[in-house]
Amino acid sequence: MTDSSDLELVELFQKGYEESFNELVRRYQEKIYWIAHRFVNDHDKADDIVQEVFIKVYSALKQFRGESSVYTWLYRITVNVALNALRKQRIRDFIRIDEFFETADDENEQPDAILEKNELQKLIEEAIAKLPAKQKAVFILRYHEQLPYEEISHILNTSIGGLKANYFHAAKKIGDYINRAHRTHEL
């Protein structure tokens, strides 16, 4: 089964071979984890996204018709789940500042972890976190995942021209953010 193509695995699953889903998970789990991590910059949140992605994949595999490649489809689900997680985070952030709700102070990094974290990495994470959702998704898929624009276009349902513009603006904003941080540090 490890030699089967993605599409063959899906077809096997649709014929009732459950084991083929396991192979898809093994094949893509690291990729999906890293995409998720780049969106949320947090292991636990990335882990939640990974779990949710594979549960969605399992539920939808029977309906997969091969209109796009399997990995494009998986990436699309991952990006949607990750963006949804970020939107939920906005609601949580809105609540958290209000003392009326005493929600658990979840997943925030402990001070020690923040101190230990590579400062440079933290800077990049902040810069990416500040990007608008679309630019963030394009930057992650193009820069980190090195996907061709044609694939990203299928995943995000956006024209290639629009993707290139988003990619440029995202990279420029990250560069500007890093420069500002350096200047502030020098001062």
Binding site: F54, R87, R90, T103, Y167, F168, A171, K172
Partner: protein
């Protein structure tokens, strides 16, 4: 002379992602364009910094455990789906969105507003849990800048209404029991929202300039 800049290809140029033909085009352009050259230098500096940063990944044990955990969640989800009726879910989740939105909307900064008794209309609307009326009443109060809302009264009113509904009672009892709605599992409600419902809540908040 009008120069067509090549901004949108520059990051791919910097990261060596262009084909031979595209790369030559950019290089020819750069020879005569100081603006794009400066842009390339900035992007290259950013690329260098990004490349230097490294994220520590999880161990191989983590990845080995993903599949068993997904399988476990699939089994438990099947069990819970078997127990929950679709009708209940169809009613509960839209209601959860409404309640969540209401909870978020009544989160008015107290330092800007007085602490007087809520208006009768607002009090009644909350008590009746008619969402439209609640929103209207809140907006009316908000427009008058004399907004005030006794959250406990509102919470008790909503909780009372929810508990009074025989169909919803079983769905929400785990969340509110006999406690005020302030102690509802808001985090759980947010986690359960699907993408469409998240958008509803966010657009509801953004329409009222709350987020």
């Amino acid at each position: 002379m009008h120069i067509e800049h090549m901004n949108y290809d520059l990051m791919d140029y910097v990261t060596n992602r262009l084909n031979e033909h595209e790369r030559k085009r950019v290089e020819e352009h750069l020879q005569n364009c100081a603006q794009c050259t400066a842009q390339v230098n900035e992007l290259a500096a950013a690329d260098t910094v990004i490349k230097q940063s490294r994220v520590e990944g999880p161990t191989s044990f983590y990845f080995a455990a993903i599949l068993p955990r997904v399988r476990e969640r699939l089994v438990s989800r099947r069990r819970s789906e078997w127990h929950a009726s679709n009708d209940l879910a169809n009613i509960f989740f839209p209601l959860a969105v409404s309640v969540l939105l209401l909870l978020l909307l009544i989160r008015i900064p107290t330092d800007s507003y007085s602490h007087s008794t809520p208006s009768d209309a607002l009090h009644q609307a909350v008590k009746d849990f008619n969402e439209d009326e609640v929103v209207q009443a809140i907006e009316k109060e908000y427009a008058g800048v004399s907004f005030s809302l006794n959250l406990e009264v509102a919470a008790a009113g909503v909780a009372e209404h929810l508990q009074g509904d025989k169909f919803l009672k079983s769905a929400v009892s785990k969340q509110i029991e006999n406690e005020e709605i302030a102690e509802m599992d808001v985090e759980g409600m947010i986690s359960d929202l699907n993408a469409e419902q998240v958008d509803q809540v966010l657009s509801g908040l953004s329409e009222r300039n709350r987020i």
